[in-house]
Symmetry: C2
Subunit: 195 residues, 2 copies
DNA sequence: TAGAATATGGAGGGACACCCCGTTTCTGCA
DNA sequence: TGCAGAAACGGGGTGTCCCTCCATATTCTA
């Protein structure tokens, strides 16, 4: 059951304007940006913003949806890569990179749903989890990762790192370094270099 | 050069009241709590709060200072423990546990200084870093950790995990699990169980 | 093209951070 | 002890923010 009825033309127009303005403002100022500023920049009353997006979270999800879809597509592409370990590792790296460069993405992806609204089934969170599942399964089969680690744990770590890195100068490099550290572990490897 | 002149009696009294109120409110509501609510509960005008603590960060730092001191003391205690690896690991666990149970602590410890005020030399951040340094050095000497990992990286990871865990139900357990994962690494160990 | 359905946005309520400045409270000194 | 000036206080104002109501305007449909 898709939308019962197509949006009215002006509604659609304002929706799109809001989304564009939100993307711009969030890119500039992060996910805490003022909603009124977004409405203002979209040339729209704040009531309209609130009608289209009942909560900040919903707005962010709409803003980030296509970025998330890109990541999911990347996962599909990598699903057939020759090296399952490398596939998983570079996908996680991509997730981290996206999260760091789009401030607030990590927080959005973190939680299942914070407003009491359970109907947000296909949230960004679950989309990412499902996309990663396949990569992890293959890597595990290749014995490239411990058998007791789940995709949710892995993604939580990646998001944690992004959360920490996104507020620091040169967050991308930091996230990258920390991710490698996490994958290899802090303790030394008994023999030779890892990988 | 300590404070040029001792605080006036009423100033000292209000300072203490504010600190106590802030500790209570932050424990209840997290680090985003309303500053006016804190002033209100301290029975003090909001201007007074702002005079004593020019920024939210400063207030949080004062609130968390004794918790941080506890952690630093723990580091000193552990400095002579028989097992350097275990000492480091359990100290990091303690840091994570504190950060998770005191919402906002992690964020406070994360950054060096966000207001342009460089005179906050002995911030919580540097206190913790210095406390950890010794434990890491000993663990490294015992070849219990990789030689290329720094205490700042390690603490950043711990804080990242705390940041992610503190907003989830059962954050303590989650943080613990993730920390173990990070220490051991996601990749499997070539031989036998670690430790 | 008229009426119904839908969408809009200005205005306003409540909360907040932060600051100005007249008033009150201390303290050091005579 | 008493008092002058320094130090601290806090009521109230400003500007911002999130969110909602409802009179008005736009779009759709027949």
């Amino acid at each position: 059951m898709p939308s019962e009825r197509p949006m009215r033309a002006d509604a659609r127009r304002n929706y799109d304007r809001l989304l564009a303005a939100a993307a711009a403002v969030v890119a500039e100022q992060g996910a805490e940006a003022s909603l009124e500023e977004i409405a203002r920049r979209a040339g729209v009353g704040s009531a309209t913003l609130h009608r289209h997006f009942p909560s900040r979270r919903r707005l962010l999800e709409a803003v980030f949806r296509d970025k998330v879809e890109t990541l999911c597509a990347a996962a599909t592409d990598l699903a057939g890569a020759p090296d399952p370990e490398q596939a998983l590792v570079s996908w996680l790296g991509a997730v981290a990179a996206h999260a760091v460069s789009n401030r607030g993405l990590a927080a959005s992806l973190m939680v299942g749903s914070d407003d009491g609204d359970p109907l947000v089934g296909a949230t960004c969170h679950t989309m990412i989890v499902e996309a990663g599942q396949g990569l992890l399964a293959r890597a595990r089969q290749a014995r490239a990762v411990r058998s007791d680690v789940s995709i949710v744990e892995l993604l939580t770590l990646v998001h944690a790192i992004s959360l920490a890195a996104e507020r620091q100068p040169d967050g991308a490099a930091l996230a990258d370094r920390l991710l490698t550290l996490v994958l290899d572990g802090v303790r030394p490897r008994p023999e030779g270099p890892p990988r």
